[in-house]
C-alpha cells in the first residue's frame, strides 16, 4: 500500500514536469513582452531592457526554466509582476474562497446526484429515469454562466433569498459565509450532478443485473437495503472515478463562477493574471490546479481499496 502510494506520487513527477515545461514554453514563446507592459507606454528602450534584465527575461530560455524550476522546488513561486507581492502569498490569500466553493460544490453534487442515479436505475426506463437522463443532457449543455445569471435573476433578484454577488470570509462568521456561497455552489454543481448521476445510474444498473441481487431479494431483504448495501456498494468504483475525473470540469467551472459571482478566488486571479500577462502568477496557478487534479485522482485510486476489498495495492 505505502509502496503503491510512493510509486504513484513518483509517477506524478514526470506529468507535472511536462506540465511545467508546457506552461513555461506556452508563456515564453508567445507575443507580448511583459517588460514592455510593466514599463508602460512612455518608457524608453533602455528602461524596458533594464526591467527585462531585472526580471531575468534576457537570459536564454533553458536557463530561465532551470532557475524557475529550481526556485519552485524550494517553494519559491517567484513574485508577481502585476501585484508586486510574492506569488505564494497571493495564492494563500485567494485559496480560501476557491477551496470553500469547490468543497461545497462537491458536497452538494454527491448528496444530490447519487440518490438520483440510484432511483433512476431502480426504475429503469420509467418516467423518473427518462426525466433524469433528459436533465443530465440539459445539465451538460447549459453553460455555467448562463445558469448563474438565470439563478441570480430568479433566486436573488425576484425571490431575494441570497445575495447577488460577493464573498464573506469564514472568519466573518459561518452563516454569512455559507449564505454567500450557496448559490455559486448550486450553479457549479449542476453539471457535476448531471455527470455523476449518469454514471451512478449506469453502474447501479449493471450491478442490479448480478446474481447476488437476486439472492438478496430472494432472502427477503427490503428493497432499499438491496439498492444501497448491494447495488450501490458494488457501483462505488466507477462513481469514485467519475468524481475524480470531474475535478477538471470543476476547476474550469470555478474560473467562470468566481467571475460571475465576484468571488475573489484563484479562478478570478487566473483570469486577471492572464490579462495582465503576469507570467509567474499564471504559471504558479496552473501548476497548482494541475497538481490538485493529479492529486485528487491519486486519492480516488486509493479509495478503491475501501470500496472494493478485492483491490490491493
Amino acid at each position: 500500500m505505502y509502496t503503491f502510494i510512493a510509486r504513484r506520487l513518483l509517477a506524478t513527477i514526470p506529468v507535472l514536469l511536462v506540465v511545467a515545461v508546457l506552461v513555461f514554453l506556452m508563456l515564453r514563446l508567445t507575443p507580448g513582452d511583459p517588460a514592455a507592459i510593466l514599463a508602460g507606454d512612455a518608457a524608453s528602450g533602455e528602461q524596458i531592457a533594464a526591467i527585462r534584465a531585472s526580471l531575468g527575461l534576457d537570459r536564454p530560455l533553458p536557463v530561465q526554466f532551470a532557475i524557475w524550476a529550481g526556485n519552485l522546488l524550494q517553494g519559491d513561486f517567484g513574485s508577481s509582476y502585476f501585484y508586486k507581492t510574492q506569488v505564494a502569498q497571493l495564492i494563500a490569500q485567494r485559496i480560501e474562497p476557491t477551496l470553500a466553493l469547490a468543497t461545497l460544490t462537491i458536497l452538494i453534487a454527491v448528496i444530490v446526484s447519487i440518490p438520483l442515479g440510484v432511483i433512476a436505475a431502480w426504475r429503469f426506463g420509467g418516467w423518473f429515469d427518462r426525466a433524469l437522463m433528459g436533465f443530465s443532457v440539459l445539465g451538460f449543455s447549459v453553460p455555467v454562466f448562463v445558469l448563474a445569471y438565470l439563478l441570480i435573476w430568479i433566486v436573488s433578484l425576484q425571490l431575494g433569498w441570497f445575495p447577488v454577488q460577493g464573498y464573506r470570509r469564514l472568519a466573518d462568521g459561518f452563516w454569512p459565509f455559507l449564505h454567500h456561497l450557496i448559490l455559486p455552489a448550486i450553479t457549479l454543481s449542476v453539471i457535476y450532478i448531471a455527470l455523476i448521476a449518469r454514471v451512478t445510474r449506469a453502474a447501479v444498473l449493471e450491478a442490479l443485473g448480478e446474481d447476488y441481487i437476486r439472492t438478496a431479494r430472494a432472502k427477503g431483504l427490503p428493497e432499499a437495503r438491496v439498492l444501497v448495501r448491494h447495488a450501490l456498494a458494488n457501483a462505488a468504483v466507477p462513481i469514485a472515478t467519475v468524481i475524480g475525473i470531474g475535478i477538471a470540469l470543476l476547476i474550469g467551472g470555478v474560473v467562470v463562477t468566481e467571475s460571475v459571482y465576484a468571488i475573489p478566488g484563484l479562478g478570478r486571479l487566473t483570469v486577471d493574471a492572464v490579462l495582465a500577462r503576469d507570467f509567474p502568477t499564471v504559471q504558479a496557478v496552473i501548476l497548482l490546479f494541475s497538481f490538485a487534479y493529479v492529486l485528487v485522482n491519486l486519492l480516488v485510486d486509493l479509495s478503491y481499496v475501501v470500496f472494493d476489498p478485492r483491490i490491493r495495492y
Partner: protein
C-alpha cells in the same frame, strides 16, 4: 427430387439494417440534426433575417426593450427605421442582429475545432499505436496536456496569442487533441490484434496501407461520436472565453461577448443576457443530443457504459 427445398433464394433471410439506416431512424439524431440544420440556415441567412449590420450602433436607440422600434444609423449616414426584436444594448446596437450573426462564429468554431482536433488526434493516435518508440514520449506529453484543466489552457493560449477565430479554434483544439489521441491509440491497439489485420500483414501489405485501409475505417464510428461531443464542448468554451473577455473582440459578435457586454446592466436589462444565453444553450443541447443519438446507434459498446 424437390429442388425447391435446396434453393437458397427461397429462404427468408432477415435483412440486417445498415448503420446508416439505424442512425436515420433514431429520434435523437433526427431532433438534434434538424435543430443544427436550422441553426446552420440561420447562420447562412443571417443578413436576410430582419437584421442590420451587427456592428452598427445608435446613441438614440440605447437600452431598448425587446420588440421596441427605434432608429439606427448606417455607415453611409442613412437613418433606418428598425424594430429591435430582442432589444438593444447600452451602445444602441441591435441584439437580434448580433445574436443571428453570432450563430456563425459559434458553429464555425465548433465544427472547425472538431475537425482540427480529430485530424491531429488521428495522426498522433495512429503513430502512437503503431510506432512503439514514439508511444512513450508522446503519451507523456498528452498526459501533461490532460492534467491542465481545459478551460485554463484555452484561456492562457488565446490570451497569449492575439484572439482571432483561428487562434480560438487552435487553442480549444489543443485541449481536445489528447483525448482523441488516446481514443485512436486504444482503438488501434485493439484493432491491430484482429485476424484480418494479421492476414493483411502476412500478405506483405505496407504499414501505411494497413493504417489507412484497415484500421482507420474501423475507427470512423467512435470518432464521429467523439467529434460531435468536441463540437459541443468547443462551442461552450468559445462562449466562456468571450464571456471572460479573453475571446474574440466585440466587433465580431459572439454569444459570449454579447453576454459579457450585457452583464454590467444585467439587473435593469436582463434581455442582454437572456437571448444569447438561450441560443447558446439550445445549440449545445442540439449537438449533444445528436451525439447521444449517434453514440447509441453507431457505438453500442460505448452506449452501454454510460
Amino acid at each position: 427430387m424437390d429442388l425447391q427445398a435446396l434453393s437458397v433464394e427461397s429462404a427468408n433471410i432477415a435483412r440486417r439494417e445498415s448503420a446508416w439506416q439505424r442512425v436515420r431512424r433514431n429520434w435523437s439524431v433526427r431532433i438534434g440534426g434538424a435543430a443544427i440544420a436550422l441553426l446552420l440556415l440561420v447562420a447562412l441567412a443571417a443578413p436576410w433575417l430582419g437584421t442590420v449590420d451587427p456592428t452598427l450602433f445608435d446613441a438614440a436607440s440605447r437600452d431598448l426593450r425587446p420588440g421596441q422600434s427605434g432608429e439606427i444609423m448606417t455607415l453611409d449616414g442613412e437613418l433606418l427605421k428598425h424594430e429591435f426584436l430582442m432589444g438593444s444594448d447600452s451602445f444602441g446596437r441591435d441584439i437580434h442582429s448580433r445574436v443571428m450573426y453570432g450563430t456563425r462564429v459559434s458553429l464555425l468554431v465548433g465544427i472547425a475545432t472538431a475537425l482540427l482536433a480529430l485530424a491531429f488526434g488521428i495522426v498522433l493516435g495512429l503513430s502512437s499505436g503503431y510506432l512503439r518508440w514514439l508511444d512513450g514520449p508522446l503519451m507523456r506529453v498528452m498526459d501533461g496536456l490532460m492534467a491542465i484543466p481545459a478551460i485554463l489552457l484555452a484561456i492562457v493560449l488565446v490570451a497569449m496569442w492575439r484572439a482571432s477565430v483561428l487562434t480560438v479554434v487552435l487553442a480549444i483544439a489543443i485541449t481536445e487533441i489528447p483525448r482523441v489521441t488516446r481514443l485512436v491509440r486504444s482503438l488501434v491497439l485493439s484493432i491491430r490484434e484482429e485476424p484480418y489485420v494479421e492476414a493483411a500483414i502476412s500478405l506483405g501489405t505496407p504499414t501505411w496501407r494497413i493504417m489507412f485501409g484497415h484500421i482507420l475505417p474501423n475507427c470512423v464510428a467512435p470518432l464521429l461520436v467523439q467529434g460531435t461531443y468536441i463540437c459541443a464542448a468547443a462551442i461552450l468554451v468559445e462562449a466562456i472565453l468571450s464571456f471572460l473577455g479573453v475571446g474574440l473582440p466585440p466587433d465580431i459578435p459572439t454569444w459570449g461577448n454579447i453576454m459579457a457586454e450585457g452583464r454590467v446592466q444585467f439587473m435593469a436589462y436582463p434581455h442582454n443576457l437572456f437571448f444569447p444565453g438561450v441560443f447558446l444553450a439550445l445549440t449545445v443541447l442540439a449537438v449533444n443530443i445528436l451525439g447521444d443519438g449517434l453514440r447509441d446507434t453507431l457505438d453500442p459498446k460505448m452506449a452501454k457504459r454510460v
